[in-house]
């Protein structure tokens, strides 16, 4: 039976988790599953959920996962969400840790598929790709 808060590692083709995705409900697992479906690299991420947890429990769960994986990158969903506050608390005493909030699928795909450069480079590219992916698309104006 799987851990409802999210498995330590996600399915994929190898390489091991480089980043944690911490989000509301089943968002993290779904995003990571989609990354795996599209690229086969879901195992680059370790998904976590804050579901049914208080702030102290989220803090503890995340710290445990960061320590276990040696992860230096955390993606969260909402800037004003409990997931993001928990991640940012770790910045205080985790040198080198980077937190990206407002995560979306394009950002994770970019991060998962970048094989060269540093984590910081991969994070910067993910932020750029994820941010620019949000666009308004409208239909062609009607002739009348």
């Amino acid at each position: 039976m799987s851990d409802p808060r999210g498995p330590a590692t996600a399915p994929g083709g190898g390489g091991g988790p480089k980043a944690i995705v911490l989000a509301h409900g089943t968002v993290a697992e779904a995003l990571v599953a989609a990354v795996d479906l599209i690229t086969g690299r879901g195992d680059r991420f370790s998904p976590l959920s804050n579901q049914n947890l208080g702030a102290a429990e989220i803090d503890a769960l995340l710290r445990e996962r960061v320590d276990a994986l040696g992860a230096r990158v955390i993606f969260t969903d909402l800037p004003a969400g409990s997931c993001n506050f928990a991640a940012c608390r770790l910045l205080k005493d985790t040198p080198g840790l980077m937190v990206v909030t407002g995560v979306n699928l394009p950002a994770l795909l970019q991060f998962a598929t970048r094989d060269t450069g540093s984590d910081a480079d991969a994070v910067a590219a993910a932020v750029e790709r994820g941010g620019s992916a949000l666009r308004l698309l409208t239909g062609r104006p009607s002739a009348h």
């Binding site: 049914n52 947890l53 102290a56 909402l78 800037p79 969400g81 409990s82 993001n84 506050f85 940012c88």
Partner: protein, 163 residues
């Protein structure tokens, strides 16, 4: 508008508060009554960094909240007052009789607490404190998001029946 919602939520500021309640309320400010947060510059900055820039945040102790409640209640913006635990809200309501309704929004699992709802776990002391608020005329309702039905304490699973 006065403060629209007095809420107990152990996640303090988070998605349900900012988006779930904040959007429909057109929330303009939050009063966070928590001694630990009020005393930590890091925590204060953390919350300031996360919330929308147009939303004002006040970090206070119980003493300061009692002293400034009238000021916030006269603020033209919509406001929410948050505590992270029942005890802080109990102390506040005892000293601020203007607070007539309290929302229990989220109290999660901890040793010594019993599950009453998916998002509400209470110790016997916390349940007693909530009942004491009700006995003083404060309406206590349990509701995580605005679209949910507001429950009274007596409707919670395992609630002791009162005569």
């Amino acid at each position: 508008m006065p403060i629209d919602l007095y809420r107990i939520d152990d996640r303090l500021i988070h998605g349900q508060v900012i988006v779930g309640w904040g959007q429909p309320m057109d929330l303009g400010f939050i009063v966070l009554v928590d001694d630990e947060v009020a005393g930590s510059e890091w925590e204060r900055e953390l919350y300031r960094m996360g919330v929308p820039p147009e939303m004002a945040l006040f970090f206070t102790s119980v003493d300061e909240a009692v002293a400034r409640l009238g000021e916030w209640r006269a603020d033209p913006r919509h406001g929410m007052l948050l505590t992270g635990d029942v005890e802080t809200m109990r102390r506040l309501t005892e000293r601020a009789p203007a607070i007539r309704e309290v929302n229990v929004g989220g109290i999660h699992h901890r040793p010594g607490r019993t599950e009453r709802l998916r998002y509400v776990f209470l110790s016997p002391e916390e349940e007693q404190a909530l009942k004491a608020m009700e006995a003083r005329g404060v309406t206590v309702t349990v509701r995580d998001v605005p679209s949910a039905r507001a429950l009274r304490l007596g409707e919670l699973s395992g609630a002791a029946k009162t005569a």
